[in-house]
C-alpha cells in the first residue's frame, strides 16, 4: 500500500520524499487545483526540480488538476494537462470529465486518476470513468464505511486510493456550495474554499472572531481550539442554541485501520494538507511511513504506538480525531 503525501512547495516535496513518501501530489500556481492559495504551489522551475528529485529516488509525483474549469479557464486547464505530460509526472488527478476526455485522447499514455472531487462513491461510477477514459485509479470520497470500500474494490478493475489522515470538511466532496454561498467562490470554481481575501480574524473582548465575507461564522473563547474559517466549521444559532450545527471540527486519523486497508486491497493511502508547511509534511509522513512499515513487517501484531498518535494529534484540526465514515459497526 503506497503512501501518498501532500506538497505545497518544493521544500515540502523534498521533505516528504526524505521521510518516506512513495508518491507526492502537487498543484500548479493557478486555479487548476483546489489549493489555489497566494504563494502556494509549483511554478514551472520548481515542478521540474520536484519531478527530478522524486524520480532520482524512484518515487512518484502526481499532479492535481482537481477543479472544474469554467469557460474562461478552459484553455488554462488544457495547457496544465500539456505541461503535466511534458513534465512526465507519474499521474494526473482529474475531477472534470471534459478535462479527462482531453487528457485521455491527447495523451493516451498519461496515467489518469479520478479525483475525490469527482465524487464517485460506487463501482458503477468508477467503472464508467474506467471505460470511457481508462482511469487507472480512483480516490474515494470520505463517506464510505470500510465494508463499502471493500465492496467498491471487489467491483472495479481500477485501483482504489483512500484518505488516511487530515482535516475533514462537510464531506460532499466535489458538490459543496457552502463557500460559494458565502463568498461567490469555491474549490470547484476558483480552487479555494473560503478564499483568504474573504477571511478576517479579530481578537475581541468576547473572544477570537472569524468572519467570512463579513459574516460572523465563529467566536472562540480563550483557550478553545480554532479551526479553518469555513462555513461547515462555523457555529450557528439554531432554535435558540449556538453550536456546530453542521459539524464539529475534527481530523481523520485511520492509523489503526492500516491492516484492514491493506487486507482490503487498497492501493494507496492519501494524506491531506497541501496548504500545510514542510514541518507538518515531515512529521505526518514519518509517522505514517513507520506505521505502514510496521504493518508490512508483521500485520498480525500491528498495534498503533502512542507516539504516533501523539505526533498526529498535535497537528490535527479541531478538538478531536475520528475514524470518520470508515467506522460504522452497524454497517
Amino acid at each position: 500500500m503506497d503512501l501518498v503525501c501532500p506538497a505545497g512547495s518544493l521544500p515540502a516535496l523534498k521533505i516528504a520524499i526524505d521521510n518516506g513518501a512513495d508518491c507526492v501530489y502537487i498543484g500548479f500556481r493557478d486555479d487548476t487545483n483546489a489549493r489555489n492559495f497566494a504563494g502556494l504551489n509549483f511554478d514551472p522551475a520548481s515542478a521540474r526540480e520536484g519531478v527530478r528529485y522524486a524520480h532520482a529516488r524512484k518515487r512518484q509525483v502526481f499532479l492535481a488538476l482537481n477543479t472544474f474549469p469554467q469557460l474562461a479557464g478552459w484553455e488554462r486547464a488544457r495547457r496544465a494537462v500539456d505541461r503535466a505530460a511534458e513534465l512526465e509526472v507519474d499521474a494526473v488527478i482529474i475531477a472534470d470529465a471534459g478535462l479527462m476526455q482531453y487528457a485521455a485522447t491527447t495523451y493516451p499514455h498519461l496515467r489518469l486518476h479520478l479525483s475525490v472531487q469527482g465524487s464517485a462513491t460506487n463501482y458503477e461510477a468508477i467503472n464508467f470513468y474506467h471505460r470511457r477514459f481508462r482511469i487507472k485509479r480512483a480516490v474515494l470520497p470520505r463517506v464510505l464505511s470500510l465494508a463499502q470500500v471493500r465492496q467498491v474494490i471487489a467491483g472495479t478493475p481500477a485501483e482504489i486510493e483512500v484518505f488516511g489522515f487530515g482535516s475533514l470538511c462537510v464531506l460532499v466532496e466535489g458538490r459543496c456550495a457552502l463557500s460559494s454561498y458565502a463568498t461567490g467562490e469555491s474549490p470547484n470554481t476558483v480552487g479555494a474554499c473560503s478564499p483568504a481575501k474573504a477571511v478576517r480574524w479579530q481578537q475581541t473582548p468576547a473572544g477570537l472572531e472569524t468572519r467570512l465575507n463579513g459574516i460572523l461564522i465563529n467566536r472562540y473563547a480563550a483557550g478553545e481550539n480554532a479551526a479553518y474559517p469555513t462555513l461547515c466549521k462555523g457555529r450557528f444559532a439554531v432554535d435558540g442554541e449556538t453550536y456546530y450545527a453542521i459539524e464539529e471540527p475534527a481530523s481523520l486519523n485511520t492509523l489503526e485501520l492500516i491492516p484492514e486497508l491493506v487486507a482490503a486491497g487498497v492501493a494507496a493511502v492519501k494524506i491531506e494538507g497541501r496548504q500545510r508547511s514542510p514541518a507538518y509534511v515531515a512529521q505526518v509522513t514519518r509517522t505514517w511511513r513507520e506505521a505502514i512499515d510496521a504493518c508490512q513487517t508483521n500485520p498480525a501484531r500491528f498495534a498503533v504506538r502512542p507516539a504516533w498518535n501523539d505526533a498526529l494529534r498535535k497537528m490535527s484540526e479541531g478538538q478531536q480525531q475520528t475514524l470518520g465514515a470508515y467506522h460504522r459497526p452497524w454497517k
Partner: protein, 149 residues
Amino acid sequence: MKLPPLPDPVRRLLSRLPQYPASAVFAAALTLQVGETLGAVAHPEFAGKLIRLHVSDAGVTLTLRVTARGFAPSGAANPDLTLTATAQDFLALALRREDPDTLFFSRRLVMEGDTELGLLVKNTLDALEFKPSLPTPRDVLRLLRSRLP
C-alpha cells in the same frame, strides 16, 4: 527538540526596551534572510505593507514595512497584518520546527488583518530553499551600520 521559553528576567527587560531599535534589528535580520525573495521587487503587491509581529510573552511589538529589497522598521500605527505568538513559537516557526496551522489551531498563533497577505508571507517563506538558521549578530550589525546616514 523543544525550544525553551523566555526566562522571566529577560521577559521583563524586553518589555521595557524601546520598540523601534528592536524593529530595526529584526528588520535587518529578516532582510538578510529573505529580503530578496519577500521584498517588493519580487512581490509588488507587498510594497509599503505594514506587518506587525507581537511577541506576546516578551511584550515586544515589531513593526516592519515591506520595501523594494526587504524590510525596514516602522513606527506607524495601523498595520495591515498582525501576527501574535510567543518568542518561543516565533523561533520554532523560523526554524521550521512547527507548522503555522498547527499553532493556529491551538491558538498559539493569531493572525489579524489582511489574511491573504499573511498567507502569501507564510507560503513564500515555506517555498524558500534555505537551511533554517538564524543570521549572526555580526551580519545584522553590518547591515544596520550600512543603513546609518
